[in-house]
Subunit: 472 residues, 2 copies
C-alpha cells in the first residue's frame, strides 16, 4: 500500500520498562506482551502490514483508562484505543510503537431512556449488542457499517453505512460523550438534550477524530422507534447510470427511503455464488422503506414509478423478515463474497462520496479505468448519499497489480474531490489517506487540524501518525 510518512517510523517510541512494570503491578495479566495478543491488536481490516504495539492493556473501567493515559503521558508513550479491530484504513496500527488500549471489556449499556429515545453506553458495546438489548422496547439504533463494530470505534471513525440516507451518520446520532484526554482527565461533552448551543461542539470534534484526541469512554446516542412497517425491494437496471438516475429522483422527490444500495453485476455474481441466490446479474438497487403500512406502500409506489421511468425492471418485494434478512445478509457479504471469486486475492477498497448529481460520472469513469486496466472488481454503494465502494481484487503476489489498483484508486479520489466530494465517505483517513486529505481539505485546513491536535495532545501520544503525520 501507499507507504505512510517514514517520519512515523523514525519516531518509534518504545514502551519503557518502568511503565510496563507499573501497568503489570496494577493490571496483572490484563497487561499483555504476548506476541499473539500484540499481533491481533496490531492490525485492522486494511491491507497494511506493520510491527505490532509493544503491549496490550485490557481496561475494565473509565478510572483505569484515566490511569493508563496519565502514565502514558508521564512516559510519553503512544496509546492506541482498540475496539473490535474492524477499521479499514490502518487506524489501529502501531506506527510509533506504544500501547494498544483495548476497551472492548467496557461493554455495558449504562442506561436506556425509552421516553427520550436515548441510550448511554460504554465504548466496547457493539451495534448488534445494543440492538439486541433495545429491540424488545420497540427501539433501534440505525447506524450499520456492515461489521459488528464497537460503538466507540464507530464514533471515532464517524461511521455510517446503509441507513445513513434516512437516519444520518454517527455525526448526527451521538448526543454526547465522555472522553479521557491525553493527560488522563475525564471530560464530558454534550448532554442528553436533543440540541444545544452551549459552547464549542466538542462532541463533533471527537466524532471522527480516530483516537487522536483522547479515548471515548461513554457515548449517549439517539435511538429511533422500530418502524411499524418495513419493506425491502430489489430492482434491476440496464446500466449503472439508470440506477443512479432513479436514486437521484427518489432523493429529489423527498421520498424518506431508509436504505438505497447499489450493487453492480460483479457484486451480484459474487453474492449469488456465496449466498446461493438467483439474482439477475445486472446493476441492482436494493431498497428498504420504513414507516406506517400506508406510508411504506406510498413510498413503494412512488419509487416503483420512478424506477420504471428510468428503465428499471423486475421490481421484486421482500416483505417477510426472513426474505429481507436474506437480502441484507447477502449485501453485507458482498465484500467476502467478492474475495472468493478470485482465490488468494486481497481487496483494495475505495470509499469516495460525491454530490449525488456527480455520482454516475464518478462511477462510470472509474469503471472505464478499471476495465481498461483489466483488474477484477466489484461495486457496492450507499448511493442515496452519493457514497460508493469500488473493490479491486488484486493478486498480492503481483506487485504490479497492487500498484495499478493504487493508481486507479488515486485517480478515483482525485475525481471525487474535483466533483465537489470527499476522499472518504465513512472509512476515515487513518494511515492510508493522509495525502488525499491534504488534496481535499487544503493545507490551511489540515494545518488547523494539526493545531487542534497539538492543543489537546501536546505530547502527541494519542494514536500518533494517524490522519496527519505528526506536527509540522
Amino acid at each position: 500500500m501507499n507507504a505512510p510518512d517514514p517520519l512515523n517510523f523514525a519516531a518509534r517510541r518504545a514502551l519503557p520498562e518502568a511503565m510496563l512494570e507499573a501497568l503489570r503491578q496494577r493490571f496483572g495479566d490484563r497487561c499483555s506482551t504476548a506476541l499473539a495478543v500484540r499481533e491481533q491488536h496490531g492490525r485492522d481490516e486494511s491491507p497494511i502490514d506493520m510491527p505490532p504495539p509493544d503491549a496490550v492493556l485490557f481496561a475494565e473501567s473509565e478510572d483505569e483508562v484515566c490511569f493508563v493515559l496519565a502514565l502514558a503521558s508521564e512516559h510519553r508513550v503512544p496509546v492506541i484505543p482498540y475496539g473490535v479491530g474492524s477499521s479499514l484504513e490502518g487506524h489501529l496500527l502501531a506506527v510509533q510503537g506504544g500501547l494498544s488500549l483495548d476497551v472492548s471489556r467496557l461493554n455495558r449499556i449504562l442506561s436506556i431512556n425509552a421516553e427520550d429515545l436515548t441510550v448511554t453506553v460504554q465504548p466496547g458495546v457493539t451495534r448488534q449488542q445494543l440492538n439486541n438489548e433495545i429491540r424488545h422496547q420497540g427501539l433501534f439504533f440505525p447506524i450499520d457499517p456492515g461489521a459488528d463494530a464497537s460503538l466507540g470505534g464507530m464514533a471515532a471513525t464517524r461511521a455510517s453505512g446503509t441507513n445513513a440516507v434516512r437516519y444520518g451518520t454517527m455525526r448526527e446520532n451521538v448526543l454526547g460523550l465522555a472522553v479521557v484526554t491525553a493527560c488522563g482527565e475525564r471530560v464530558r461533552t454534550g448532554s442528553r438534550a436533543r440540541k444545544s448551543s452551549a459552547g464549542y461542539d466538542l462532541t463533533r470534534l471527537f466524532v471522527g477524530s480516530e483516537g487522536t484526541l483522547g479515548v471515548i469512554t461513554e457515548l449517549t446516542l439517539r435511538l429511533y422507534p422500530l418502524p411499524e412497517a418495513v419493506s425491502a425491494a430489489v430492482c434491476f437496471f440496464p446500466s449503472i447510470d439508470a440506477a443512479v438516475q432513479a436514486t437521484i429522483q427518489i432523493i429529489q422527490m423527498g421520498v424518506p427511503i431508509a436504505r438505497c444500495e447499489l450493487l453492480d453485476a460483479h457484486a451480484i455474481r459474487a453474492v449469488n455464488a456465496h449466498d446461493k441466490l438467483g439474482l439477475r446479474e445486472a446493476p441492482m438497487l436494493l431498497m428498504e422503506f420504513h414507516g406506517s403500512p400506508a406510508g411504506v406502500a406510498e413510498q413503494a409506489q412512488t419509487v416503483q414509478e420512478i424506477a420504471r421511468d428510468c428503465g428499471g425492471e423486475d421490481f421484486d418485494w421482500a416483505t417477510t423478515p426472513e426474505a429481507r434478512s436474506r437480502l441484507w445478509t447477502a449485501r453485507h457479504h458482498a465484500y467476502l463474497s467478492a474475495l472468493q471469486t478470485r482465490p488468494g486475492c486481497r481487496c483494495v477498497t475505495t470509499d469516495t462520496c460525491v454530490p449525488i448529481s456527480r455520482l454516475a460520472q464518478s462511477i462510470n469513469e472509474s469503471v472505464c479505468e478499471v476495465e481498461e486496466a483489466g483488474i477484477p472488481y466489484f461495486i457496492v454503494g450507499h448511493v442515496g448519499d452519493g457514497n460508493f465502494h469500488l473493490g479491486y481484487l488484486i493478486d498480492p503476489l503481483q506487485p504490479a497489480e497492487r500498484e495499478t489498483a493504487e493508481r486507479l484508486s488515486a485517480q478515483m479520489v482525485a475525481r471525487a474531490i474535483r466533483l465537489g466530494g470527499t476522499c472518504t465517505g465513512e472509512h476515515g483517513i487513518g494511515l492510508h489517506k493522509q495525502a488525499f486529505l491534504i488534496e481535499e481539505a487544503g493545507e490551511p485546513a489540515v494545518a488547523m487540524m494539526r493545531s487542534l491536535k497539538a492543543a489537546l495532545d501536546p505530547l502527541n501520544i494519542m494514536n500518533p501518525g494517524k490522519i496527519f503525520s505528526g506536527p509540522r
Copy 2:
C-alpha cells in the same frame, strides 16, 4: 443583567489611529466611526448595555475580510463579526472595544444545486432571502429561528427554531464553510458531499463558535424539496402537562411532525390581542405536518388520537396557506405581543432544553416559581425538541424585578442541567450565560474549549470575551 466578567473591561483594547488610517485608505467611507453606526452595531436583542465598538467596517468581499483580519492581527485589535444583529445573548457587544466587521453586504447566493439539494451562499444572505430565491425551484431551507437572521449568524450561534424537530438545526444542515481565520487566512471546511470521514469536523467546530474562532465567509447548506402537502393544526389542553404528554407520545410513535410548538395561556392572550385572533386562552399545541397528501392525513389522524387521549380539545385545522401563515405569524409575534401586554416592560428570555421526559417537570416547576414571585410571564416552546422559552416581563425601572427574574432564570437553568439538559437550546452563550456553561459542561470541558480558542486565535482578537472570558 448579570455583569460579565469585569476582566473584559480591564482588557479594553482601543483601535489605534494607524489601523484606522489603513482601513480608511482602503475602504473610504465603508469604514465608519459615526456614533449612530457604532451604536447600531454595539447592541443585539439582549437587554445588556455596553459602550459601542470603536469603528464599523462594511466588507464587500472575502478578500476584504482577509485584509481586515490580517490588519487586526497586526494591531491586536478585537474584531466582532456582525450580520443583522438579531442575536440574543450579547454576542455582538464590544466588551473589549475594537472593530465591528459587518458582513451583511456579502449577500449573494453563489450557487444552487437543485439536483443535490445544496446551496452555497455568502454569510449576509438572510434565511428569507434564501427561501424567496429557491422557492420557484421547489426547494426550501427549513431552519427558522423566528427573526430574519443572516445565515452566517445562524451558523455562528447554531440556530434552530420551529422546524428543528424534523429537519435538525444548523449543526445538521451546514455541509461546509469558508472561514477567514484570526490571522487573515482563508480555510475551507467540508465539501458538498452529504457525509465525510475526512479528518476533524472543522465545520461543526465553527458552527456555534459565536465568531470567536474566525469569520464565516461562505456556507454550503442542505436544502429540502418543498413538501407536496402541508397542514397545520391547533389543539388545546387542560394543562401544560397534558400538552407535553401528547408531544412525548407523538415523538415516541415516530410521527415525522415538522413543527410542534407550545404556547401557554399568557402567550395566547398576548397574540390574540396583537394579531386579533380568537384562540382559546389555554395551553395550546401548534403543529405542522409535511409530506404526501396521504402521509399528512395519516400523521394528522395519529396525532389527533394521541391528543384526544391526553385530554386535548378543539382540534382545528389550517390547510390553506393563508390560514397557516396567520397562525405562524402570530407564533413569531409572541415575543413582541407579550411585550405589549405590559407597557414599558423589557423581557428577560430564557432558553433551556431538556430531555423530553423531563420537559413537563421543567416547565411546571419554573411556572410555580414565577407565579410565586408575581412577575408577569409567558411561555413558548419548541417542545418536540424539549426546548422552551420563558419570558419574564419586567419593569426596567424596578431593579428588584430584574434581580428576581435573573434569580428565577438561574434556578431554571440549574434545573435543566440537573435534568440532563442544557443551559441554551438555541440562543448561545454570548456574554450572559458564561457561568451557566461552566455549570453545565464542567471546568475540564470549558478548559478544553479555551485551549481550542487559544490554538486558533492566539492573540484573542476574534470576538473576545464571549463564551468564556479570555484565557485563564
